[in-house]
Amino acid sequence: MSLKDKLSELRQRGLADIKQSADLKDVNQVRVQLLGKKGPITEVLRGMRDLDAAERPKVGAFANEIRDDLTAALTQRKEELEQAVLNAQLAKETVDVTLPGTPVAKGEPHVIQQIIDQIEDLFLGMGYQVLSGPEVEEDKYNFEMMNLPKNHPARDMQDTFYITKEILMRTQTSPMQARTLEKHDFNKGPLKMISPGVVYRRDTDDPTHSHQFHQVEGLVIDKHITMADLKGTLQVLAHELFGDKFDVRLRPSYFPFTEPSVEADITCFNCGGKGCKVCKNTGWIEVLGAGMVHPNVLKMAGVDPDVYGGFAFGVGPDRFAMLKYGVDDIRNFYLNDVRFLTQFTKKG
């Protein structure tokens, strides 16, 4: 057998051994066997001295080629086996991804707060200040300066919790109109504000009445504010809170502190305007009161009604939340059942 043939056979046998090696230890053993100092290749190369000088380089090159082939095969086999080990380990580490995630503590804002925040953000974007006022008010601000002198019949429209004859729980956020008008310096620009807060009425709590609820007052006073601006502003509000599909309509109403006074209805949620039980077949649902600020209100707050005028509106977040989410009992908002509070997770 020629040296060349011996080498060829060696290669074949070596590659077969490498292929058969079952683990990294085997691979190492095969490496030592084939390529070690006492290995067959070394031995074959030792026999080169018996060859012709002309043959020697050729056989030498062939032997190196075979050594390289075997080395490459060993490396590849080693990598294959390493990969297999890793795969086996990963397979062992597999988890059931459908098991629930580990709980983390996460609280939710109150649903009414979410509506108030939404209203605040909308009006902040339109250049309004957000102000808050006292919940225990003077009769003067709650009624008198809102053009409701003592004995005004419209006072009967709002049952009031009095503390003394002159001190009461505010029945509306409207006193903030008088309070801000009194302070505002019109030389520095128009007055544009909203004032969210808690209000109180002497009512018996039932599914549709609560002795405590929320209001957001809005007020814009400048030299050229129109009723069309009021309508546009209320439209923006309805679209922001309920969606673009909702339309706003105004109806005449009566509030002593606005003239003209309107009530704003929006398209019924339940039927989309076709008419149903919820909207008493009108297709509309009453959501807020508004109007052009009464000249007496401006005058009493020291603002000249011949120069300045504007609009005011009062929004009820409780009512909005009831309508928007179909909450059928207003008391839910104040009893704080966790199962109720954590239902409203979609923000914005």
Binding site: K106, M126, F161, I167, R251
Partner: protein, 802 residues
């Protein structure tokens, strides 16, 4: 007020359905509560003629009737009404019919006798008991004799009319009448309306010889009477009865019905007195004297006082003016001479009298809002004319007038420019004038200016803004453009407080608490629990219930109520926070100060048990962690310290800490005292409450970049035994003070006070981290510093280093 569609149509040529008319009214004038047609929902209810009535063989009150209902054969109907009689025309619900409340009537047997239908009372076909004539309240209703058997009954009873229920706002008293509504509708539909006016046929003697009235004009600005003699009291004709019951009023007799009818038509309440019951011929309009009493028509007795306006004769009060007449001088069987009163009473007196005596009548409602002061005589004349026509009365000559102060019509000037500037419209002068004239306002135009004379009946219109409303609503709010305010720019802004409140909510929600909104009005007991400072309570003068009678001075009791509500519903794990006001009052002040607070409460576990993590009941340190994280979030500048407080009666004496910032107490945290928890019916609950306003007002740390050291840190652990009363705060403070320049942090990693340490001692272990920002620390330097601090601990705190 319920307005009859048919009545409106008598005066106004309208081609609209009742629902559309109602919607138009709602969009243009006043709110409409609903539109009803009394016959809606009824079926197969016809006129029957009772041919015979025989006693039921097995009953002492039932009758067996043969009733002609317009068919070939009469129906046999068993009837239990006491007033059934042969020859009557009655209301018959045929077999297969539907009566009130969706009840179906079928053929049946009553005590063995077949009965094909039912003879009905008005209540059974949907009439409210309040409007059924007294004679028929206890039995079946008897129709007029000319009713044709077999006809549907609805037209005989006015039940095919549509009734539009107006919810009239306090300013629109004029809409509480058919005539007032017609004036508005004429403008809305831009159609002429022809109202009729009374012509009185007078006879007999002059009234002045028979009656004198003496009126305090400050109480009654107009007071007029007419006298009608030789009246024949009788039930009113059907058309009149229908008008009344469709408006929700009970027909009584022709005289009383006429006064009510005139009120519905003109909005002017009238009162009819039996003239013969007057003591003397003088009538007085005055305030009541203390001690005077009056029994009103509804047979209730009233103690009068000097704020009540009364009509009196020489002996005493005969009516509570503008509210209700007295029983003694009322129209009763045998009355033949009637004094009709038409007047205007001062609205404030009437409002208070109605409240004081709890008598809110159709009359008081109208006087409170103001009646048409230009129509007092017309209403009086119309009533007199009807008493002549319907009751054969002899109207005496003339009226007596006790006072006669008719106000001048309001004259208001405004410019077209102003109209368009306020409404945002581009109306022309012609459009504006047309609208105002359609309301029967008189308008004079001079260039841009309009001078408008407003009819007296519209007592709600005084200033230009009132006219703007009239123009806008008749023009139509739907036609207003929708724009946004323009003009000088403004910046939207939140106050510093509002920003911090928002950040507070976000922080606490991130820490796992849900926002609660509880009631600020609570019980007297709860109001003064968990107090952070001394304060007087603030009480409502007239609370609705004791549960909501006093203003809260803490937020925690509200949260405990919430937790109790949850645990009563088997929700055991509750984590809540609330942000809101508490109300502190100084002695001698009426008005409390309002302080913004923030509070939290956790019961059960913050994190629910899960498959990979056991439930961990809330404890002091979890709540403290939340408070600390929150205060860090608010960047409170200053040392936050927690000082034990064993003195709050509502809190666990060993598990409560005051929270101090720079030594200033801003709140507390800890476990609710077990006996208080029991009182609230809640389990172990941890709470905190902070003065949020104080946090708002405190200086805050500004955000600033601090270089992160590139050099390695070296840590050393130290464990020590100390006496039980040595606190972690003392140890940490000492280590920080004596730790040397390179000490970066001290972290407690173990606390042990179990069996392996001597009694009265505890073991604490800390990791101290050293780092130099500018170079690598040498081990020796650390060892030196560490040894120094160890020594200090031994010397100053008696620690035994282990």
């Amino acid at each position: 007020m319920k307005i009859s569609y048919n009545w409106i149509k008598e005066y106004l040529d309208l081609d609209v359905k009742p629902v559309d008319l109602a919607e138009k009214i709602e969009r243009t004038s006043v709110e409409v509560d609903d539109v009803t047609k009394p016959s809606d929902g009824l079926k197969k209810i016809v006129v029957g003629h009772v041919l015979s009535v025989e006693a039921h063989p097995d009953s002492d009150h039932l009758h067996v009737c043969q009733v002609d209902v317009g068919e070939d054969d009469p129906l046999q109907i068993v009837c239990g009404a006491p007033n059934i009689a042969k020859g009557q025309h009655v209301i018959v619900a045929l077999p297969g019919s539907r009566i009130a409340n969706n009840v179906k009537i079928k053929k049946s047997k009553m005590r063995g006798i077949p009965s094909a239908g039912m003879i009905c009372a008005l209540q059974e076909i949907g009439f409210s008991e309040d409007v059924v004539p007294k004679a028929y309240v206890e039995g079946i209703y008897v129709l007029p004799e000319d009713a044709t058997p077999g006809d549907a009954v609805y037209d005989y009873l006015g039940m095919n009319d549509s009734l539009i229920d107006l919810d009239v706002t306090p300013n629109r008293g004029d809409m509480l009448s058919v005539y007032g509504t017609l004036h508005d509708l004429a403008a809305i539909y831009d159609k002429p309306v022809e109202l009729d006016h009374p012509e009185v046929k007078e006879a007999g003697a002059t009234i002045d010889d028979q009656l004198a009235v003496h009126v305090d004009a400050t109480l009654s600005s107009q007071y007029r009477m007419r006298l009608v003699k030789n009246l024949k009291l009788a039930p009113s004709p059907m058309w009149l009865q229908i008008r009344l019951w469709n408006a929700g009023m009970r027909p009584i007799n022709n005289v009383v019905d006429i006064t009510n009818y005139i009120m519905l038509k003109y909005g002017q309440p009238l009162h009819a007195f039996d003239y013969d019951k007057f003591n003397g011929e003088d009538v007085y309009v005055r305030t009541a004297k203390a001690g005077e009493k009056l029994t009103t028509l509804d047979e209730n007795d009233h103690d009068l006082d000097e704020n009540d306006i009364v009509i009196a004769d020489q002996k005493g009060p005969i009516a509570l003016a503008g509210v209700m007449g007295g029983l003694d001088a009322s129209i009763q069987d045998g009355t033949t001479t009637v004094a009709i009163e038409s007047a205007v009473f001062e609205h404030d007196h009437i409002r208070k009298a109605a409240q004081r005596h709890n008598l809110h009548t159709d009359a008081s409602q109208r006087f409170e809002r103001g009646v048409n002061q230009a129509g007092v005589q017309e209403a009086l004349d119309a009533a007199a004319q009807m008493m002549n026509e319907l009751a054969d009365g002899e109207v005496q000559r003339g009226s007596v007038v006790g006072s006669n102060n008719v106000p001048e019509p309001a004259v208001i000037s405004l410019t077209l420019t102003h109209v368009n500037a306020v409404l945002g419209t581009k109306l022309t002068m012609d459009q504006v004038v047309h609208i105002l004239e359609s309301l029967e306002f008189q308008v004079k135009v001079a260039e841009d200016e309009l001078t408008v004379t407003v009819p007296v009946r519209r007592n709600d219109i005084h200033i230009p803004a009132d006219l703007l409303e009239e123009i806008a609503r008749i023009y139509g709010y739907d036609r207003l453009p929708a724009t946004l305010p323009t003009g000088r720019m403004t910046m939207g802004s939140l106050t510093a407080k509002h920003r911090l409140v928002r950040a507070t909510r976000k922080s606490l929600e991130g820490l796992g608490l849900n926002q609660a909104i509880s009631y600020a009005l609570t019980t007297a007991d709860k109001a003064k629990m968990f107090m952070m400072r001394a304060s007087e309570t603030t009480e409502l003068a007239w609370p609705m219930t004791v549960d909501h009678a006093v203003l809260r001075m803490n937020l925690i009791t509200g949260l405990l109520d919430d937790i109790a509500y949850n645990s009563a519903r088997k929700v055991k794990d509750v984590a809540l926070y609330e942000q809101g006001r508490v109300f502190y009052r100084e002695d001698g002040q009426d008005r409390p100060a309002e302080e913004e607070h923030i509070a939290g409460a956790i019961t059960g576990t913050l994190l629910p048990a899960a498959w990979n993590q056991p439930a961990q009941p809330v404890d002091f340190f979890q709540m403290k962690g939340i408070v600390a994280a929150y205060l860090k979030d608010m960047a409170v500048n200053g040392d936050v310290t927690y000082v034990p407080n064993a003195d709050m009666p509502e809190m666990h004496p060993g598990r409560t800490a005051d929270i101090l910032v720079h030594g200033h107490r801003i709140g507390f945290l800890g476990e609710v005292h077990p006996s208080i928890a029991k009182q609230f019916k809640v389990g172990t609950t941890y709470v905190f409450e902070l003065n949020l306003q104080a946090i708002v007002d405190m200086p805050k740390q500004e955000n600033q970049y601090d270089v992160i050291s590139r050099y390695p840190a070296i840590t050393r652990d130290i464990a020590m035994l100390v006496d039980n009363d040595v606190t972690n705060d003392q140890i940490v403070a000492l280590i920080e003070r004596r730790g040397g320049a390179f000490l970066q942090s001290v972290k407690l990693f173990d606390v042990y006070d179990g069996v392996k340490v001597p009694k009265g001692k505890k073991s604490l272990a800390y990791t101290l981290t050293y780092q130099d920002k500018h170079e690598t620390l040498v081990d020796d330097a650390v060892t030196q510093a560490f040894d120094k601090v160890s020594k200090r601990l031994e010397e100053e705190l008696g620690a035994e280093i282990r």
